[in-house]
């Protein structure tokens, strides 16, 4: 599996798309220096908002470009035959591709976090009085959970990747899942209120309950607002959220591997 992971890593870091996304993210990170000036008190919060959003958005863009094409390209250009004619099983292929992707994201996140930290250090020294609620640990906590989110999202991309050979269809499915996953907790919250119970048909409410367990709760990994205000989660919550992300990804990948094992590669 190692050869596959390293090849996938190379695919990522040698892709021109990745560097376009890097440039964009770095641009947003530097934009935070300008935008922070528009605010009065919580400059640290605004700076963190910008930096975290840049990293998070870069993660989404990489997923939507690189990850979505990863398996589709192999299937479309028949590289898959070349790969699978080696002693690499299909299960190994799915996991190898996934872990390879994670190494690409790890690389991207480390790089972007490093750059954003430099910007934050600068801003913090410049406006030391207005970084009251800022907390480095909280900042890294948000980046960490964003990485967990990417981990889950990419397991879903791999899953759709083995189902459909079209990267566009994969993208549509993934975006839908992402949007649903981001808003599901709001929707559930809405249902639980009296207003929601009145206006929703019972069947719809039940459907949403089912979706709740299928679609990942991406909002669980959104620690941007919380971290921007310097709040930290407890160790047990930290572990719990991490575990949720890992377990979900593993389930999705196992399903993907099962489907891929049966797939006809004619």
């Amino acid at each position: 599996m190692w050869p596959l992971i390293s090849v996938t890593f190379l695919e990522g870091v040698r892709s021109r798309i990745l560097y376009g996304i890097f440039l964009f993210a770095i641009f947003v990170v530097f934009l935070s220096i300008i935008f922070a000036n528009f605010f009065m008190q919580d400059l640290g919060k605004v700076a963190v908002d910008f930096n975290l959003s840049a990293i998070s958005f870069a993660g989404l863009l990489i997923s939507a470009s690189l990850s979505v094409n990863l398996i589709a390209k192999d299937l479309d250009k028949r590289t898959i035959y070349f790969v699978l004619s080696r002693p690499i099983t299909r299960v190994q292929y799915v996991w190898g591709k996934y872990l390879g992707l994670l190494t690409v994201f790890l690389f991207a996140y480390l790089l972007l976090t490093g750059i954003s930290c430099l910007v934050l250090v600068y801003l913090k020294s410049e406006y030391v009085n207005y970084f009251g609620s800022f907390n480095w640990l909280a900042y890294l906590q948000a980046v960490y959970f964003d990485f967990i989110k990417i981990m889950v999202l990419n397991s879903i991309i791999i899953f759709f990747g083995v189902i459909t050979t079209s990267s566009f269809v994969n993208l549509l499915f993934t975006v839908s899942t992402y949007v649903v996953g981001q808003s599901i907790s709001d929707v559930i919250h809405f249902i639980s209120t009296g207003r929601g119970q009145e206006s929703l048909a019972p069947a719809t409410a039940q459907l949403i309950t089912v979706i709740k367990y299928i679609v990942p709760n991406f909002e669980a990994f959104d620690f941007k607002v919380i971290s921007a205000h310097g709040m930290l989660v407890s160790a047990s919550e930290f572990g719990y959220f991490t575990l949720y992300g890992i377990v979900y990804s593993v389930i999705v990948l196992c399903l993907a591997a099962m489907i891929f094992k049966k797939k006809e590669l004619l």
């Binding site: 190692w2 050869p3 596959l4 390293s6 090849v7 190379l10 695919e11 040698r14 892709s15 250009k77 028949r78 590289t79 035959y81 070349f82 699978l84 004619s85 080696r86 002693p87 690499i88 006809e264 590669l265 004619l266």
Partner: protein, 301 residues
Amino acid sequence: MITVEKLVKTVKKKQLLPSRKTILNDVSFRVQEGKVISIIGQNGAGKSTVIKSILGFTQPDSGTLNLRAGTTLGYLPENPYYYDYLTLRELLWFSASSFGMKKVDFPEKAKAAVEQVGMQAELGNRLRTFSKGMTQRAGIAAAIVHDPDLLIFDEPMSGLDPVGRQMVFDLISGLRDRGKTILFCSHVLSDVERLCDEVIIMHAGEVRRHLTREDLVLAQKETEILVPLSAQVKQILTTAEYRFKTFTEHLSLYVETDKINQTLDFLRRKEIPVVNVQSSAVTLEKIFYDVVADKEESCGL
């Protein structure tokens, strides 16, 4: 080394009313160790499907497929595309390391592989910069770098210029001389004829012929006798159970060389004029065309 028995494969046709299409029908053959075997056939005859079944890319509906345990395999896909962001060296390392090659052994093996395809100078270059022929040769290098026992090449000659083609030809005969088992598909019948110990002709998902080298040699010992075309002549020849082929103006009669006189006598007796007598080059090409035209009965092998 490979035993294929009664392989059947159907696929769903994506139509308004889904139906199943048979793409492999009762395919059986055996590849013996150290032999060079070629599968030839038209596009869609099922060659690639057979190879993909052997490699496990697709599951047959029924039948068995056996690959001798412990066989290491090198495969060159048809119209290959490799990760073009890799250098040739990285591609070879991917291939070799997935077969468990150690890092210390790699440089030497890689050098040997690229020398065989004449790409020594390209080791450090990205595949992105390669032409189609170079990509093909890079693929061959990736297939042989770990020194496999069995090589499966899908259209190894495609996309190559005459020089490249000769190179692949020499490569395959070199591998044969080193005792490797080689299974390949090709459209270049003259190469197949010169290289192969056995030839499998597939048509419409079936194995129509399985020729050995002896069959091919034998086939060349036939003589072709041309006679004018008419319904009456056709009738006479059919009754006499001669093998013949109908052309626009004449009929070609195929007889074994030692039976020429006997046949000429017969024709004279029946007052059928002989237009020409020539040594029949019932080469592979001819056999192939006959099979494709579904004229099994007219060509005697």
